[in-house]
């Protein structure tokens, strides 16, 4: 619980830092991107804080690129 509260507190601080100046300049699209990324980041941090397994992108890259690495290093055996 404390983890979630702490993360939300940080999120509020981030919103307070960024949003007023974005609103003042009227940057709507920027505000949307900011919001989506922040939402995503908050979700990830809470999941990490609660020790939920998060998929590792390096594993996906490994699936795609391991055959290529095998081939490259195999050439030089």
């Amino acid at each position: 619980m404390i983890v979630i509260l702490g993360i939300l507190l940080i999120v509020i601080v981030i919103v307070l830092i960024e949003v007023p100046s974005l609103l003042k300049k009227g940057l709507k699209k920027e505000l949307w991107v900011f919001g989506i990324l922040l939402f995503f980041g908050t979700g990830l941090n809470i999941a990490q804080g609660l020790q939920i397994d998060i998929p590792n992108p390096m594993d996906w890259i490994n699936v795609v690129y391991k055959p290529i690495s095998d081939f490259l290093f195999g050439l030089l055996r």
Partner: protein, 362 residues
């Protein structure tokens, strides 16, 4: 323009230099020695030669569109949607690299200095200065790199001078014991990390005030950084031998621990740690800056600064997730990285250059 700052050729050289030495300063010797054993220095030289060739490739691509970043001209060359898709993959590449570099730093501090502190808190602390650097922009970053450059050189020379009495030439013999193949395998590793990563500088290229100087600066920086890596690898092999170099994850750090002059001047490994913090700070900040800038350009935003804080939050989690432990880092990440980096560091620039050339002359 998203980034209004301009840097000059010299500052660009220093940034490239810092980026090249970056995390490789500690990791390269053991990575090279793992395959090539006592020939690691040969692999380093070969890697640097290829690295300079790569820098030359980026230089010719960058000069073709000297007022645009990679994201902008890939959109122009490949069309809007394919360009954006490829740019997005490029963004993930630089972002993932930032996470891995951050993780290297965290691993180093938790294994060598403060083993009981959670790695997450170290990441957060380090990210605070990265965040400042990114928000302040390229110009500030380049000027601070210029400021730290002499420190880096002086401390590095101190390390070289004080360890040189312990050099034993027989440690690099026999040369090419198992033929050339292990050397080639090792050089593949160092080409992937750090030289193929230099492609990130195509995002900074247009912000050099004189485009002519940018290419030269890129070559110069790669060359200088490469020499540092060669010297370090050679020293690690010459002083500790291939076996010990392979077994230590951070041979340069152990090298500094071995310094002992008259039983009086010793234990100055903090020097190496400081040098490494300087260079890895710049590498991490450049990676992060490039990811932020490229994301902003892909989405056609008018500003990039508001992306910094949310991306930092994602980066913290990604750095913890992307390499769960050191074994995974060494066995999976280092093995797969060269081919992953080849996609963005070699094929993407070649593709862009090829299509641009065809369009120009047909």
């Amino acid at each position: 323009m998203l980034e209004s700052g301009k840097i000059d050729g010299k500052q660009f050289t220093v940034l490239v230099f810092m980026f090249t030495t970056g995390s490789s300063f500690l990791l390269a010797p053991s990575m090279l020695a793992s395959e090539a054993k006592q020939d690691a220095w040969l692999a380093a030289i070969l890697g640097v030669v290829v690295g300079v060739l790569l820098a030359w490739l980026y230089h010719s691509l960058g000069n073709l569109y000297s007022d645009m970043t990679l994201v902008e001209y890939s959109e122009k060359i490949l069309g809007k949607w394919i360009g954006k898709a490829i740019s997005f993959l490029f963004f993930t590449f630089s972002f993932l690299l930032a996470a891995l570099v951050l993780r290297n730093m965290g691993d180093f501090i938790t294994t060598q200095f403060i083993p009981e502190t959670p790695i997450k808190s170290i990441h957060i602390l380090f990210l605070i200065i990265v965040l400042m650097g990114t928000r302040l922009g390229l110009e500030t970053l380049a000027r601070s790199a210029e400021f730290f450059f002499p420190w880096f050189i002086v401390l590095f020379l101190l390390l070289v001078i004080f360890i040189s009495p312990q050099i034993e030439l027989e440690k690099i013999q026999p040369i090419l014991e198992e033929g050339i193949n292990p050397v080639l395998r090792s050089s593949l590793l160092i080409i992937g990390f750090p030289f193929l990563e230099l492609v990130l500088f195509l995002m900074i290229f247009p912000y050099v005030n004189r485009p002519k100087e940018a290419g030269k600066a890129l070559l110069m920086g790669t060359w200088m950084g490469g020499v540092v890596l060669i010297v370090l690898t050679a020293l690690a092999i010459l002083v500790m031998g291939a076996d010990q170099t392979t077994r230590n994850l951070y041979p340069s750090y152990y090298l500094a621990q071995k310094i002992n002059i008259g039983n009086f001047f010793q234990r100055i490994e903090a020097i190496v740690a400081i040098v490494w913090f300087i260079s890895i700070f710049f590498k991490l900040t450049i990676c992060f800056y490039v990811s932020t800038l490229s994301l902003a350009q892909i989405l056609n935003l008018k500003e990039y600064r508001m992306l910094v804080l949310p991306l930092v939050m994602i980066l913290i989690v990604l750095s913890l997730v992307s390499s769960p432990n050191i074994v995974y880092l060494v066995s999976v990440v280092l093995y797969v990285w060269p081919s992953y980096a080849l996609t963005f560091g070699l094929f993407l620039p070649l593709l862009l250059l090829g299509i641009a050339a065809v369009r120009r002359y047909v």
